[in-house]
Symmetry: C2
Subunit: 288 residues, 2 copies
């Protein structure tokens, strides 16, 4: 148990061997000492993690939120490949001295999560993939026109986030507005906003990840970690079918589909998602 | 509407251009004249189609059940590849003069269904795939030891069918026993039993289909037909995850998972499956 949360945890910094100073937050406590590292979506910084999700997870796990190199309050530049983002993240992992950890990747963060699971199979224990998809799969090469328009505008607005993240139903949008209220609730020690250069380099990396190549699906068969996949039933940014492909090909995976939900199902149902994540990690740990 | 059913429809024969005389049954009526051709599982003949399923479907669609070359009452020999089974089936389709039809493939029949969808995209309108999986995918190269043992015994028994087809729960097995009662209800004009040679050649073809080759997943992206995928939540013969891979990669596909069910979910929930199939076909037809 902890008395810090996403709304009160201090924003920390640490300089890694690659010369990048990473901004991060760390709170909660795991009974077995293994933390859960959260990897963020396109254009997101530390404040974009829904307090209702990460605080509920932090009741059972130590949580580490991080800006990768060049993002928000971290120094350095955003690379234009997922591979280099993963190498940048590993520098952060190494300076913290994490030898075993769980990973939660959302959207773009889910691409990096897959890559680090493959690059550090000995260190990544469990994997959670939300609103994401596999390299090279059909439907992964960039976004449909409306999503691209709303997500690449110069300044993210509440309306654009609502449009991209939630289903076009009154029920989903109401839960979306509650989410927006939560991520803007913190007033003190907020993270630095992400820049246009971050946006462009990240979208380069997203397009590179999606270049059609059916043979890349074999990479999924190399993910040895128990994997929990979370997704909305109609994600218009990263199609829901990509989550089916992942659960079909990752050897030890399970899939939970949230109803009436789009890309940000985990922010629409934060308490439910936290229970799924904590139960999954607890079940895997007790199975060892 | 029709007064014939799987229990009373006569077993017909027709000789095709390849010299094979095919045994088949044909009953029910489609409002648009497009029939639904059913493709059978490993070792099955015409009598293995659950009357509760096909009769309920036949309330809305004309139904054609067929023994492929060498199976049951059909002459010829069973080939050891899915490709040749598909070519054999096409000879039957052609002698009936079917230029547009829907296909329902179960298990091995689902392999042939995928292949004919790819070979005759101009003739196959809608596709239903039950308890089946894609060529070359992980987990498709033959069956686990217990399933292989129960399914390759010299004479199929009620107990072996129960073991392979249904979940190991009291509820699933009770529904399985009801299914067994239904497929043995017909006493008059039953089909010829399948032989040991049929069993062996079919299993050769199943293993050939499953030889690991991740590049074959690209074939799924070429299935242009609207596709309904039906599966039990824990199929031990063709793993449930294969259905996720198919719905992830077939461009226009949907997936329905039945609870507490294994390989023969369509025979455990025949009325529910028939409603799903008829609604799917009706919806696609009205969308054209």
């Amino acid at each position: 148990m902890t008395d810090t949360s996403q709304l009160t945890a201090p924003t920390l910094t640490v300089e890694a061997a690659n010369g990048v100073t990473y901004a991060y937050r760390r709170f909660g406590e795991s009974s077995d000492g293994v933390p859960l590292v959260f990897l963020m979506h396109f254009r997101g910084n530390l404040d974009n993690w829904d307090p209702a999700l990460v605080d509920a997870v932090a009741q059972k796990q130590e949580v580490i939120l991080v800006d990768n190199a060049g993002v928000g309050g971290s120094t350095g530049t955003v690379p234009s490949t997922i591979k280099q983002m993963t190498i940048d993240l590993i520098a952060f992992i190494d300076v913290l001295g994490l030898r075993t950890f769980d990973v939660f990747g959302f959207s773009l963060g889910g691409f990096v999560a897959q890559e680090i699971a493959l690059l550090r199979p000995w260190a990544v224990r469990n994997l959670v993939l939300a609103g994401t998809g596999p390299a090279g799969a059909p439907g992964m090469h960039g976004w449909r026109e409306d999503i691209q328009r709303e997500s690449r505008i110069d300044q993210s607005t509440a309306e654009s986030l609502l449009y991209i993240f939630f289903a076009q139903t009154d029920t989903s949008r109401e839960l979306g507005k509650a989410f927006l209220g939560r991520i803007f609730a913190r007033t003190d020690d907020r993270d630095e906003p992400t820049t246009a250069a971050t946006r462009d380099a990240q979208y380069d990396a997203i397009l590179d990840w999606g270049i059609p190549d059916i043979t890349k699906l074999e990479r999924l068969t190399g993910i040895s970690q128990p994997t929990l996949i979370l997704q909305g039933d109609d994600d218009r940014m990263i199609p829901t079918k990509e989550s089916h492909t992942m659960v079909g090909l990752i050897p030890n995976a399970r899939l939970h589909i949230f109803p009436d939900a789009a890309h940000a199902s985990i922010f629409q149902y934060p308490e439910e998602a936290a229970v799924l994540v904590n139960d999954f990690i607890s079940e895997q740990s007790s199975a060892v």
